[in-house]
Symmetry: D2
Subunit: 221 residues, 4 copies
C-alpha cells in the first residue's frame, strides 16, 4: 500500500511538472505592415523569439500591409482566434490616420474606438489575454511638426483610454518612440533613427520594439 | 342546416378575424441622412406610407446622418434586427464615397463590399428579406462631370453585383436618377431637379424615390 | 528781431500743420475668413482701430473666406497693391493645411513656401513693408492631439523661417495661442477659449490677436 | 558689271539657302511625369521627332513628375519662356485631380482655371503660340467607373472652354482615349490598353498620343 501511495504521489508530481512545462504561451501579433515585416529575419518578432525562452513562448505573426482597425475586425476569426492563442498583441493605428491623406480612406475617430473595442471584446470572449500598443510614428521629427503628429497623438490617446477602461497591458510605443527620439535625434530628422521611411522599423527600431514588448509580455505572462 | 349555418358563420368570423389581425409586413429603411429625412412629412418614407395600404405595411425609418456601410454594420443589431422586421431596405453608399473628399474617411472599395456582404448575411441569418439600393447622386449633372461620378458608379456596380450574387431585389436609384436627369435636366444643373443640394431629396426627389421603391416593395412582398 | 520772430512763428506753424496732416500709415490685413470677420464690429481689426491713434493709422481688411496662400498670390495686385498700402500683414495658412482634409485641395509644403515667398517679394518690390503671422489654431487642445497640429506646426515653421530669411517682423500667433491655452485651458477643450469653433476668433480671441498685432505694428512703424 | 551680276546671283542664292534652312519651329512640351517620360526613347515626344521633319521642328520636353497647373505657373519663366519657343503644348491636369485623393493637395476647380488662364496669357504675351491638351486618363475602364472619371471630365471641360475662349488649338486626349478604349478595351480593363498603370503611357499610348499631337501641330504650324 505504501509503495502504491508513493508511486501515486510520484505520478501526480510528474503530471503536475508536465503541466507546468507543458504548452508554451502562444502569442499572436496582430497588426499591419510593420508586423508583417516583424516576422522576417531581424524583424521585431524574430528578435523577440531570441529574447524569450522558446519552450515557454510561441510567437506568431498576423500582420497584413495597409491594415486598419476594421481590417483586423474583419479577419480576426480566421487569422487570430482560429489559432487559439493565449495572448494577442494588437498593434494598429498608423494606417487609420495615414490613409486619410494617402487615399481618403482613414478611419473616423469614433469608429476607430468602436471597432477597437469590438476587437478587444471578441478576443476576451474567447478567453484570450489582450495587450495593446499605440502606433509609434509617421515621421520621427521631435518638434511635433510631422504632418500626422496631432492625429496620431489623438488615436494613441484613444488606445490608452481603452487600455485603462479594460484594464489591459499597454506597450506605449508612441511615447517610447518620442522619448527615444528626443534623446537620440538631435538633428530633428524625420527618419533613420528607429525607422527607415518614417513608419517602418530599421534595425534599431526592431530591437527597440522587441525590448518594449518583452517587458510587457513577460510581466503579462 | 342550423348547425351548418352556425359552422359557416363561425368559419367566416374566424377568417375575418385572421385577416384583421394579419400582421402587416414590417419594413425597416436602413441608411444615412437621406433616409433620416425620409420619415419627415413629405419625405420618401412618409410618401410611401400613403402609397401602400397601411394595414399591409408598417414602414420604419432607421437612417442616421453621415452613415457609411460600416456604421450600418455596427448598429444593425440594436437599430434593425431588434425591431424584428420582415424586410430591410439598405440604402447607403453616398458617404462611403463622399467622405473621401470631405474628411478623408471614406470606405475602401474592397472593405465596402466586405461590410456590405456582412450586413446582408446577418440580416438573412435572421430570416429578414433584404432589398438593396444604389446610391442616387452626388451632383445631378448629366455629362458625367460631377466630381464623384466615377467613384459613385463604381460603388453602385458593387451593389448591383451583390444583388445578383445573393439574388436580391434591387432599387437601382443611381440609374433611375441619371435616366430621369437625362430627360428632365437639359441645362445640366448640379442640383434642383431631384435634390436640393446635389445629395438630399427635394419634393420631386422624395416622390421619385417613393415610386421606385414602391414598385420593388410590392413585387417583393 | 520782429521779422525774425514772425518768420519763426510761421515756420513752426507750417511745421505743425505738416505734422498734423501727415499721411497715416496705411495697413492692409491680407488673409482668409478670420481676417474677413476681423473688420466686423468687435473683430480684431475693429479692436485694433480703437487701440491705435486714428490719425496715425489707417487699417484696411482684405480677407476672403477659404483663402490659401495661392489665393492671396492671385488677387494681390487688385486687392492689396492697388490700395497703395505702407504695410501689409499676411495672415494665412489655416486653409492650406485644413483643406487637405476637408476638400483634398490643401497646399503642398514646398508650394506653400514658393507662393509665400512670391507674395513677399512682390510686396517688397512695391516698397511695401511686410509683417508675417503664423496660423493660430485648428483646435485649441493643449496636448497636441488636435488633428492638424503637426501640419500646422510645420507650416508655422515655414513662415518663421521666411521671416528670418527676409528679416521681417513676425506675429507668432501659433505660439501665442498655444502659450495662452496652456495657461487658460486646463480642461483641454478644443474650442471656446480663443475660438468659437476651433478656428474662428471669439471675443477673447479677437482682443488677444489685436494685442499681439499692436505690439508688432507699433514697433514696425 | 559682270562681277556685280555674279555677286548679285551669289547673294540671292545665299539668301534662298538661308530661307531653306530657316529656323525650325521650336516646340516645348510643358507638363507632368507623362511628358517627363515622353522624351525617353519610345516616349511620345521621341516618336513625334521621327514623325515630323527634323529640319522644320525642334521638340523640347519640359515635363516634371507630380506637376499641377500651379507648378507650371511657378516654373514657366525659367523652364519654358527662357527657351524662346515658337509653340508651347500644355498637357496637365491629372495631378490636379489625382492629388486630391493621394495627398490632399489637388487643385480647386476655380483655381485650376485661374492658373491655367494665367499660364496661357503669359505665354501669349511672349508671342508664343499655345496648344492645349486635356488630361487623358486615370484608369482606362470604359463604363465611367474609374474613381476620378467625374472630376477628370470636369477639368477636361474647363480646358475645352479655355481653348474656345482663347481660340486655341486643342488636342482632346481625354476624348481620344475614351473613344479608343471603347473600341479596343472590350474587357473594361483599368490599364494595359494605352497605359501601363492607369496613367502613364505604354508603347501603344505613346504612339497614340504622338499621332494625336502630330495632327494638331502640323495644322498649327
Amino acid at each position: 500500500m505504501k509503495l502504491f501511495v508513493r508511486l501515486f504521489v510520484v505520478l501526480v508530481a510528474v503530471g503536475l511538472l508536465a503541466m507546468t512545462v507543458a504548452k508554451p504561451t502562444r502569442i499572436v501579433f496582430f497588426g499591419d505592415s510593420i508586423t508583417q515585416a516583424g516576422v522576417k529575419p531581424g524583424g521585431y518578432i524574430d528578435k523577440l523569439k531570441s529574447m524569450l525562452p522558446s519552450d515557454q513562448y510561441e510567437l506568431i505573426g498576423a500582420g497584413i500591409g495597409g491594415n486598419k482597425i476594421y481590417d483586423l475586425f474583419l479577419r480576426m476569426d480566421e487569422d487570430v482566434i482560429a489559432q487559439k492563442p493565449d495572448v494577442v498583441v494588437i498593434w494598429v493605428g498608423v494606417n487609420d490616420v495615414w490613409h486619410k491623406a494617402t487615399s481618403g480612406t482613414g478611419t473616423d475617430p469614433d469608429k476607430f474606438v468602436r471597432f477597437y473595442e469590438a476587437v478587444v471584446k471578441k478576443l476576451q470572449a474567447a478567453n484570450i489575454r489582450v495587450v495593446l500598443c499605440t502606433p509609434a510614428a509617421i515621421g520621427e521629427k521631435t518638434d511635433m511638426t510631422n504632418q500626422q503628429d496631432g492625429d496620431l497623438n489623438q488615436y494613441s490617446q484613444f488606445i490608452r483610454t481603452i487600455a485603462k477602461q479594460y484594464n489591459l497591458p499597454l506597450v506605449d510605443l508612441r511615447k517610447a518612440f518620442l522619448d527615444y527620439n528626443l534623446k537620440n535625434n538631435p538633428e530633428n530628422k524625420d527618419r533613420g533613427v528607429l525607422t527607415t521611411d518614417r513608419v517602418h522599423l530599421n534595425d534599431a527600431g526592431n530591437l527597440f520594439v522587441a525590448e518594449q514588448m518583452q517587458k510587457v509580455l513577460t510581466a503579462t505572462k
